[in-house]
Symmetry: C2
Subunit: 247 residues, 2 copies
């Protein structure tokens, strides 16, 4: 058996999220069905870097699977893409040592969130960016974001539903850039809690509209209480952008 690492992009709009669920259309379900067909019906399991929720997109999700087939690595994308619907694209495949694990070997992840501020809704962005037709101060959001950088207990920025005990994560980098009527948030860290990026964005938008001060971020972190942070921004603006592994 050889282990294959795949980098994949998908439009999450018409999926009930990444993770396989009975009677639901999921990205994992689709990948496993496709791989099983390639393996003549033999069930193939895939392991991704993590889940994404319904409506959330991926530019560079990573998963691995094991195979007895000897298909050259550059052929794997072709073999799979011809069988996958065009909402899902295998961008790259590589054989890796067997100790590579798409989830446990993750070193860093980057998520991006797209917001557009035009007065009119755009029919072309309805599944791909949050429409927020209000004045936002990018400077105020950048100041607020500074308080979030580094190692913190992110309990306030995590869905109350989560089962994870340890909520300390290291948020290494946040960038907020404005271009052509869009504001792009980028978050890079060693790990993210459930809904963390969407709550961070919801809270930063409040800082950008003046309903929170940048210093309030410190208090929100210290409160370790989900109710202190802003709303959870909707899923359709969110992209799992990149997953990095220690080489």
């Amino acid at each position: 058996m050889k282990r294959v690492k795949c980098t994949i992009s998908y439009d999450g709009t018409h999926f009930s999220g990444y993770q396989i669920q009975p009677n639901r259309r999921t990205v994992q379900g689709l990948l496993e069905d496709t791989l099983s067909a390639v393996h003549k019906g033999e069930r193939v399991r895939v392991t991704a870097s993590g889940r994404t929720d319904a409506g959330v997109h991926a530019n560079g999700q990573v998963f691995h699977f094991d195979t007895p087939l000897s298909i050259p690595e550059e052929k794997w994308p072709v073999v799979l893409n011809t069988r996958l619907p065009d909402e899902v694209v295998i961008k790259e495949a590589q054989y890796t040592p067997e100790d590579f694990h798409a989830r446990f070997s993750v070193k860093r992840k980057e998520y991006r969130y797209r917001v557009y501020t035009a007065q009119s809704r755009s029919p072309f962005l309805r599944h791909y960016a949050l429409h927020h037709p209000f004045t936002l101060s990018v400077d105020d959001m950048k100041k607020a974001a500074e308080h979030l950088i580094g190692e913190h207990d992110f309990t306030s920025f995590c869905s109350a539903k989560t089962e994870v005990e340890d909520k300390v994560r290291n948020l290494q980098r946040i960038t907020i850039t404005e271009q052509e009527g869009e504001i792009i948030f980028s978050f890079t860290g060693n790990g993210f809690l459930y809904n963390m990026v969407r709550i961070l964005v919801g809270t930063l938008l409040e800082a950008g509209s003046g309903s929170l001060r940048s210093e309030d971020m410190k208090d929100i972190l210290e409160a370790k209480n989900r109710n202190q942070a802003g709303k959870t921004a909707p899923p359709h603006g969110l992209y799992l952008w990149k997953v990095e592994y220690g080489e």
Copy 2:
């Protein structure tokens, strides 16, 4: 009765084109149903600047309708947008003199066509730009385009199915710009024949890939024969971008 001019944007993906047809989901059908609901069931007809085919998008389509209602013009977009699905957005509405006609008063139209040349398909562009993962010379396409500017008989660049007799049109401007992995074609003219922009793009792509020389454009125009031009580019890269009226 007062005449209302509306500027509208729509994602053409899930429509059988603009023009109303029995038992099909069309933009015109949706607009007329929505306006009829606002007029308490009284049938309201709308007249657009022209049709767009299935899968073709609009950034700035224009239509007019007549109404006995006295809704302030800035309220019309709100009244209609709350009732329309989010694939269709009324961007602006204005009361106009009764001699304004969305089709007959057109002075100029601009169409755009998006092509992306990345090696990998993008799941996010599958409905919004043509994937053409081959080397293209923008310079060669610009040279070829120069031969198309001006008043010509565009029979070679028109679907053989068309019923229009006079195929002379004035193509005032063609721009071809490259940005962030995309090539955007823009065509401005006083009128366009059926499939004309898509055939122009299909032919310019052949010039860009070296299978046609720029001078061949002259011969293709002179032949007045659809078979001499290139393929009809697919609908999903095409946008009715802007309609201008003489003020």
